[in-house]
């Protein structure tokens, strides 16, 4: 294993130390592992808190700032944060209008956020929890822990963050977050496995000419193995898989995220974006807004995920609203 770390045990603390040094505009509580906006809102506003295992950067810390999250709670690498972190975060950013917890649907995340919500409620903080579960690779049935939360987290955090910034009420913010999640689907393909620092070797071995199809962001193997094929074929397969599960029809508009999993060059992500755009165009679907880059990564994994969020005027307007975080900024 080759990593730019001091030790697997200290990687999170060391990264937070660097993050704090790099971004003085954020309040980084290193011992408690909470990244929050340094400036409190002038009037009470709904606070958005998210969190999850580390190794997915810039998610979530990179999305803390005006127009998006109020706080993020990073767990150990690929391990959900503990309830105390979310409680500390809620206490730090709650301004009287309640807290929305944005939780990617993984057993560990769900349970830790649930315990956190109970603690926050005990402290008199009103809490809504929004689950993100956009990954169509997982059949959503009684046979699984339910669909995973992946790329749609960016859309949920951005759009709900914009609405919260405008002073919307707790239930409204939670509702739009849920609506974005319901309108989103993702699917991912990996070319290599991720190496968790504490494990010291890749999560799976993959021959030179094979890929894992339907992977998550935690280095676990996907639904199946296939031969590596040209980008246009892979992009088409990913688009078609998502469309098969999505109520998108000709004439619809989407927000599209072509997301690098950490080890794939931007050059390749643009190749994929071109193919995705072409495939969608064939189906009469227009990409109204897009992001191309590393947003929800899986350490050093090579590959990409595609997220499509069905857009309407309201969602696009909230998407376009100003945002100023370390990983997403526009005005």
């Amino acid at each position: 294993m080759k990593k730019l770390i001091n030790s697997p045990e200290t990687v999170l603390t060391d990264a937070l130390t660097g993050f704090a040094a790099a971004h003085p505009e954020l309040a980084v509580d290193i011992p408690n592992r909470v990244i929050a906006r340094a400036v409190r809102p002038e009037r009470p506003k709904v606070a958005l808190i998210s969190g999850g295992g580390s190794g997915h950067e810039p998610l979530h810390a990179g999305f803390v700032g005006p127009g998006m999250l109020d706080a993020a709670c990073p767990g150990e690498v690929f391990t959900s944060p503990v309830p105390d972190q979310m409680l500390t975060a809620a206490q730090a950013v709650h301004s009287g209008a309640g807290v929305v917890l944005i939780v990617k649907n993984y057993t560990g995340d769900v349970m830790n956020f649930q315990l956190a919500a109970e603690l926050a409620v005990e402290e008199g903080i009103e809490v809504r929890t929004v689950l993100v579960n956009d990954d169509v690779a997982v059949e959503d049935s009684t046979w699984t822990a339910g669909r995973r939360g992946t790329g749609a987290t960016v859309m949920v955090e951005k759009i709900a963050g914009a609405l919260a910034e405008r002073g919307a009420a707790l239930d409204e913010v939670a509702a739009v977050a849920q609506r974005v999640n319901a309108a989103s689907r993702s699917f991912a393909i990996a070319l290599t496995a991720a190496t968790v620092p504490a494990a010291g070797k890749p999560g799976f071995d993959l021959p030179e000419d094979e890929i894992e199809v339907g992977v998550g962001i935690h280095g676990e193997p996907g639904r199946r193995r296939e031969r590596l094929r040209p980008a246009n074929e892979l992009a088409a397969e990913v688009v078609d898989t998502i469309l098969a599960d999505h109520d998108l029809a000709a004439g619809d508009e989407v927000i599209a995220l072509v997301n690098g999993l950490g080890g794939t060059p931007l050059l390749e992500l643009y190749v994929v974006y071109g193919e995705v755009q072409a495939r969608l165009a064939e189906r009469g679907i227009r990409i109204a807004r897009n992001l191309v880059g590393n947003y929800v990564t899986s350490l050093d994994m090579a590959g990409f995920s595609l997220t499509l969020t069905k857009a309407d005027a309201e969602l696009l307007e909230l998407w376009d609203a100003p945002v100023a975080t370390t990983a997403l900024t526009w005005s």
Binding site: G75, V82, A145, A198, G203
Partner: protein
């Protein structure tokens, strides 16, 4: 079980987790995300520190503190599950010492906490698949005393963990793999077996 034995049990778990960290992580890398060993090591290291100062003076306090520490330090799926289980066991043992029958009740409360939080049933390829048979064996052997009951539970937990191999996971991260989860032993069931083995170990040497 007295305070000392409770402490010995938790220390023995911590030692076993330390020894088996790599194996647990290896199992988790096959059908999960390669962190079960490091999660538990981090958790039980923290438990060791927490139990030092001040040292609890009752069985229930030892287990409750263990549970609370696991919840605050582990994260992931196993943190809240084991944490809630130990917290529930602690709560179920209000006396300074616990009879073997009381411990059986506590272990049942532990399982209940795991199932209430995680919603897993036997056969879902989780912690439950080791804890449930261990509990049943413990209950059946209660009359033979702690050492024998714990030994029976450890055996059953081991068997339960091994029996997860052919199962397809229906809960937790491994469920994402669908049929590809078949053929691998569940990491959580394996660590549960280790917890019951530690109980047998400390009961024997007590």
């Amino acid at each position: 079980m007295d305070t000392e034995l409770a402490l010995a049990w938790v220390r023995e778990i911590a030692a076993a987790v330390e020894r088996q960290e790599a194996q647990l992580t290896e199992l988790d890398s096959a059908i999960g995300d390669s962190d079960h060993g490091s999660n538990l090591r981090r958790g039980f290291n923290a438990v060791m520190t927490a139990l030092d100062s001040p040292e609890p003076t009752a069985v229930g306090a030892v287990l409750a503190k263990t549970g609370a520490t696991l919840i605050s330090k582990v994260g992931g799926a196993s943190g809240p599950l084991y944490g809630s289980a130990f917290r529930a066991m602690g709560k179920a043992l209000p006396e300074e010492k616990a009879t073997t029958a009381a411990l059986a009740t506590a272990l049942a409360e532990g399982l209940l906490a795991i199932q209430q939080l995680g919603g897993a049933a036997p056969g879902d390829k989780t912690i439950v698949d080791a804890w449930a048979p261990a509990l049943a064996a413990f209950e059946q052997a209660v009359s033979q005393g702690l050492s024998a009951a714990a030994e029976a539970a450890a055996e059953a937990a081991d068997q339960g963990a091994r029996d997860t191999v052919p199962l397809q996971a229906r809960k937790g991260r491994a469920s994402y793999l669908g049929p590809r989860s078949i053929g691998h032993q569940d990491p959580g069931a394996t660590s549960t077996a280790l917890i019951f083995r530690a109980l047998a170990q400390s009961a024997r040497t007590a």
